[in-house]
């Protein structure tokens, strides 16, 4: 388990290092490996990457999640802008509860961030497996229905990726 | 380019004035930090990226954080 976390941390760090430097020279690689080894110790100590799955199915889920996410982001912006430019501000806000099945910390972070960036919803707090969400145009305050409307489209991909 | 420079200068001055005039301490500190951030854009236009980076990281970033750490110590006596 620790081995997988170390591999992911090293790979991620090296990728970012090369992107920052913008070259693939020998010197850049040497310094990059030194720095990345130091940073991966922080990652292993915190255990963030312990639950990431590295299967082909996870890769497909990652791509699907990114596509869903981008579509929702554009939709959310069209929604928000139409609210902003209309002469009378029409909103119907509420703070609702939803449940999530995700257990891993990274998965919950990804879920909360994608909820925040999608139409009219904003994660205000998270307690155990309950997320409190500020909804700008609340159509329901029921837990199950809100979960179905807000969470599930991301959760089914993130579940494969993070478990 | 001059027009950008003038607009950002005006923004910096407005932020500095806000920092000096406003009554609330927290807002004053925040506005001071924002003035530093705008000043760093001025430094970029004046072809000084080194100084811009230092101003963003040290002059406006860390200084603001240290202000808040000090304010925290003052508050903790105020009300428990």
């Amino acid at each position: 388990m620790k081995f997988k976390a170390a591999v992911i941390a090293l790979f991620l760090g090296l990728l970012i290092w090369l992107g920052l430097n913008g070259s693939l020279g020998r010197e850049v690689l040497i310094t990059g490996i030194i720095v990345t080894v130091i940073t991966s110790f922080f990652y292993i100590g915190s255990g963030v990457f312990r639950d990431v799955h590295l299967t082909p199915r996870a890769l497909i889920a990652l791509i699907a999640w990114i596509i869903v996410f981008l579509i929702e982001l554009v939709k959310s912006n069209i929604d928000v802008m139409s609210r902003v430019v209309t002469p009378k501000v029409r909103i119907n806000p509420a703070i609702v509860q939803v449940k999530t099945k995700l257990r891993s910390r990274l998965g919950r972070l990804a879920l909360a961030n994608s909820i925040t960036l999608t139409p009219g919803t904003l994660t205000a707090d998270i307690v155990d497996d309950t997320l409190f969400i500020h909804w700008i145009d609340a159509s329901t305050v029921d837990i199950d229905e809100a979960t179905r409307k807000i969470v599930e489209k991301f959760e089914k991909h993130l579940e494969v990726l993070f478990g | 380019m001059e027009i950008l420079f003038i607009i950002i200068s005006v923004l910096t001055i407005i932020m500095a004035l806000t920092a000096v005039i406003v009554k609330d301490r927290i807002v004053a500190v925040l506005a001071g930090g924002a003035a530093g951030l705008f000043a760093s854009i001025l430094f970029i236009i004046m072809a000084a990226p080194d100084v811009a980076m230092t101003e963003a990281a040290i002059g406006s970033g860390l200084t603001t954080f240290i202000f808040f750490f000090a304010l925290r110590k003052i508050r903790s006596k105020d009300n428990g």
Binding site: - | S9, R25, V29, G32, M46, A70
Partner: protein, 116 residues
């Protein structure tokens, strides 16, 4: 042109910062005034080193040396000044916290020992 505008901005910031530091009675806001004063001085110093149409003094190849660069020396000085400004601010703030712990207030008028 740019450096003239910058000098005026810097001077205004110096005046605003000085005004804030002298007229405010609250120590924290006096320190904010000082840091704005600092920013103004930095802008003035950088604009003294500006050359019309100059680019940043970071050379991408040795053949480029003849091009017009801005003056690097004021930039190095300002870099030093910003770092030392952080040290001074941290020092002033710790001092203010200490004074608050002694007297329980941050109003400068309450500190009788410091007045002439």
């Amino acid at each position: 042109m740019i450096s003239t505008i910058a000098v005026s901005t810097g001077s205004l910031l110096v005046l605003i910062g000085l005004w804030g530091a002298l007229t405010n009675r609250d120590i924290i806001r006096m320190i904010v005034g000082f840091s704005i004063f600092d920013v103004g001085i930095h802008i003035i110093m950088i604009s003294i080193g500006y050359i019309s149409g100059g680019t940043a003094p970071i050379i991408s190849s040795l053949s480029e040396v003849g091009a017009s660069f801005v003056d690097p020396v004021p930039q190095a000085l300002v870099l030093t000044a910003i770092v030392i400004g952080l040290g001074i601010t941290a020092f002033m703030l710790t001092y203010a916290v200490n004074m608050y712990n002694k007297k329980g207030t941050l109003e400068i008028d309450k500190f009788e020992e410091l007045k002439w």
